[in-house]
Amino acid sequence: MTYTIEGETGPWELVIGLEVHAQVTSNAKLFSGAATEFGAEPNSQVSFVDAGFPGMLPVINRECVAQAVRTGLGLNAQVNPWSRFDRKNYFYADLPQGYQISQFAHPIVGTGVITVELSDGSTKEIGITRLHLEQDAGKSIHDQHPTKSFIDLNRSGVALMEIVSEPDMRSPEEAGAYLTKLRQILRYLGTCDGNMEQGSLRADVNVSVRKAGEGFRTRCEVKNVNSIRFVMQAVEAEARRQIEVWESGGTVDQETRLFDTSRGVTRSMRSKEDAHDYRYFPDPDLPPLVIDPSWIEELKAGLPELPDARRTRYVNDFGLSAYDANVLTAEKETASFYEEVAAGRDPKVAANWVTGDFFAMLNRMGKGIEDSPVSAKHLGALLDLIADKTLSGKMAKEVLEAMGETGKAPGTIVEERGLRQVTDTGAIEAAVDAIIAANPDKVEQYRAKPTLFGWFVGQVMKAMKGQGNPALVNEVLKAKLDG
């Protein structure tokens, strides 16, 4: 079923393509030795190269190239052994050189594809047109002074990967799913931290609308959208705007727009470049970027397992449900945590504990997996205590709570609190006998109403301070009451 928006003249289809700018994870900038850390003091991470000083020259950072190659491999894309940097010329306050060093004619990575999962359980392939390396610009701050803008060049020269998709998406959901998947792959690869709040990942969203069976109509580009939710909202808002324009007899002009997140609408950028003419030409300061095939092979061999492969393995080898496998592979950290818990243990039990009580606990505490007070090692040890019957499931939940509060190992908590499951049938029989003896009326009622069995279990467990092995308690009670 094609997603459509209903206009006055009937349904409209959406055509969406994304240009994603992903900040490359690296210590130093693309062409200089200045640092890339977020949130530093203004202009404190600026080399004279980044500030466009006279006579300064760029020298490329090897790791940034490696990261682009890894990303290309992760996107199942062609890595080009010969690529080149061009200058994109335009004037802007936060563009110190008067040009951005980018790759226009010969990008480092060519066409690729990624598969996205949609909420109805279906999947869709989205084409990648290209990936290229380029410099980020500095930052203009407009709200600090009534008549001036302030310029901070800390970001100037930080390496970006621009990842351009084919116009293959047809709904806000698909756009969201694409960006989610792309972000997941980048984070798995460790090539971009995917932090959209800090601007490490931002999307330019190209949207057009059309009637079924038509070719493409004019598109507009919504610039710099910085969350997945906003991407989906921006698609919808821009599509509705264009439908209104077309339906009122107007024409959509190809232009750059901004998404106003507070009002949920897009608006034309006021500071439009007078007729974009970037005068791209090969940067004469930089010879071609030639990548040895053996280096590509080396980087390929060092790639981590990506989410699709991992998910398939969880389903096929571990016997997990598709749902659990999805949840566990959504973030690389979660998957690593899970695998450590599952190592040498029952993978399904491990999955139940991680996605169940453990996640619930993190939720309650408002923490993420990276700052979890319970380590994977400790959670695994807890599962071992269940497996060797030291703890019942119920006791284990209590111990997990205590682990969350204290950060201690489960063994320590069991020791400290004397929480040891009783599996000695003699002790259980004694407790059962005592309860039966004390409650002859209930025993009488039980004959007519077997559902009272649960009440007896509760009384026995209570008497045993919850430490009776539930299966044995059940077994003994059943024998005594029915016998």
Binding site: F48, A51, G52, F53, P54, G55, M56, L57, P58, V59, I60, R87, N89, F91, A93, P96, Q97, G98, Y99, S149, I151, D277, R279, Y280, F281, P284, D285, L286, P287
Partner: protein, 493 residues
């Protein structure tokens, strides 16, 4: 003999033997500058205090047995090289009082070897010009005068006009320069000194204000071929800060000067025989070939068929790169600023006021040839012709070891001549520009005089990174020519 008359080789020996100190040598040059610079305008900035301080430090190093290869030699630095703590102007108003916090690699290398900097010398604005007339700091006068008319001020050539005039007039023992289309070789020829544009990549461009990055080549000018070799050896070397710097060892250039030319095959490109070329230049060229033949070289006729397209190719490539390289001069981070109504207006007024007419002309041409719809017809076409020009040389060097040509189509011309016709001015570089497009080394050696007694030079070209052959051939010409005349305007004349 006055200390300003030393060659670099001679001064090094005199310093070593204690005949002169660097302080005395430096003071003599500062005195000469003080006396003659008001007339010649070769220096934009004279750093007298710093120079004397450096000279005294140099004398100390020498007495401590720590003398470098250029220990104590006073040099002039083209004001296109960034010098830490000393204003660097590129002879443009737009840089204002810009004072770099860094030292260019080439000047760092010279300082490492003990050189003493006298100051920053004049040039065409951003090195764009062939007469030094486009400098925001005024024209430079050529120290040579026509024998028949000493009232005419002659241009020193450009863009390294200040470097060439200063060295010719004995205001410095040598100077750094840069060559994008002939900016070392043409002024050296006009001022009767030697100058070499080494292979592209031999000297780092780091810290040199960029004009056209794929062509810009730092190099030295000096009064002898050997002095050029000594300076070039110090200036050269791999620089990890310049991605186009060649990672090759630096040969002993001075030793190569003495190699001789016996057995070398010298090419004579027929395309350099221009229609209407003055007879004396044609005759000098023939003379040079005869000298080399007499020394045992074999003269071979060759063809460089795309020569006539080199200048128009250059005048697309260089302005295109320049239009982009000069975008950074926007009045935001350094340099002069002219305020405007908004940012765009600030840019436009700053750049309109900061750049001179020739720079603006080239920015306009460069912007135009790169703009949408014209890129293929101009820029891409020029790049393809550049391939053909390079190919011509590759072919030629299969059969010859070096090429000999005239350096310039005329001797120094009068100030004000050719000023109104950009294309006529551009033709000055007709013999030199091909080496920049191909990247190969080229040197101008003084070889004779025109009918008015003005110096004329010959140009030696060789294969990529074969400066040694250039020096060998250059020395042979220098020895055979045995020139004795001195410029009329010179220190202690």
């Amino acid at each position: 003999m006055h200390p300003t008359d030393f060659t670099i080789r001679g001064a090094l020996e005199a310093l070593n033997e204690g005949i002169v100190t660097s302080e005395a040598l430096t003071q003599a040059h500062l005195d000469a500058i003080q006396a003659l610079n008001p007339r010649l305008n070769a220096f934009i900035t004279v750093t007298a205090e710093k120079a004397l301080e450096a000279a005294r430090a140099s004398d100390k190093r020498r007495s401590d047995g720590l003398a470098g290869k250029l220990e104590g030699i006073p040099l002039a630095i083209k004001d296109l090289f960034c010098t830490a703590g000393t204003r660097t102007t590129a002879a443009s108003r737009i840089l204002g009082e810009f004072t770099p916090p860094y030292e260019s690699t080439v000047t760092s290398n010279l300082l490492r070897d003990g050189a003493v900097f006298l100051g920053k010398v004049n040039l065409d604005e951003f090195a764009m010009g062939s007469s030094n007339a486009t400098s925001a700091y005024g024209e430079v006068e050529n120290p040579w005068q026509r024998s028949n008319d000493d009232g005419v001020r002659l241009v020193p050539g450009g863009s390294s006009g200040g470097s060439a005039a200063a060295v010719a007039a004995r205001l410095a023992l040598g100077a750094t320069a840069t060559d994008t289309g002939g900016s070392i070789r043409q002024p050296a020829a006009f001022c009767g000194i030697a100058g070499i544009k080494p292979t592209y990549g031999r000297c780092s461009r780091w810290g040199v204000v960029a004009f056209a990055s794929s062509l810009d080549t730092p190099g030295p000018v000096a009064r002898t071929v050997e002095d050029c070799a000594i300076l070039l050896e110090s200036m050269s070397g791999h620089d990890p800060k310049d991605s186009t710097s060649a990672n090759l060892p630096v040969p002993d250039f001075a030793a190569a000067c003495a190699r001789g030319v016996k057995g070398l095959r010298i090419g004579v490109p027929k395309e350099y025989r221009l229609e209407g070329m003055p007879e004396e230049i044609e005759a000098l060229w023939q003379q040079g070939l005869d000298w080399l033949r007499a020394e045992g070289a074999e003269i071979v006729d060759i063809s460089l068929p795309h020569t006539k397209y080199a200048l128009p190719t250059y005048y697309i490539v260089a302005p295109a790169e320049a239009s982009s390289n000069l975008a950074r001069y926007d009045g935001v981070r350094y340099g002069a600023r002219v305020n405007g109504e908004d940012l765009k207006d600030l840019y436009e007024r700053t750049r309109a006021a900061g750049f001179g007419a020739e720079v603006k002309r080239r920015i306009m041409i460069g912007t135009y040839v790169l703009s949408a719809g014209y890129y293929d017809a101009y820029y891409l076409k020029a790049q393809k012709v550049r391939t053909l020009i390079k190919r011509d040389f590759d072919e030629a060097f299969k059969t010859v070891d070096a090429i000999l040509t005239p350096a310039t189509p005329s001797a120094a011309f009068a100030a004000g001549e050719k000023q109104d016709d950009p294309v006529a001015m551009y033709l000055n570089d007709v013999f030199t520009v091909t080496a920049n497009l191909a990247g190969i080394p080229g040197m101008t050696v003084p070889a004779g005089y025109d009918r008015h007694g003005l110096p004329l030079g010959l140009q030696v070209l060789a294969r990529d990174f074969d400066e040694e052959t250039v020096f060998a051939v250059g020395t042979a010409i220098e020895l055979a020519a045995g020139l004795k005349a001195l410029p009329q305007v010179r220190a202690f004349a």
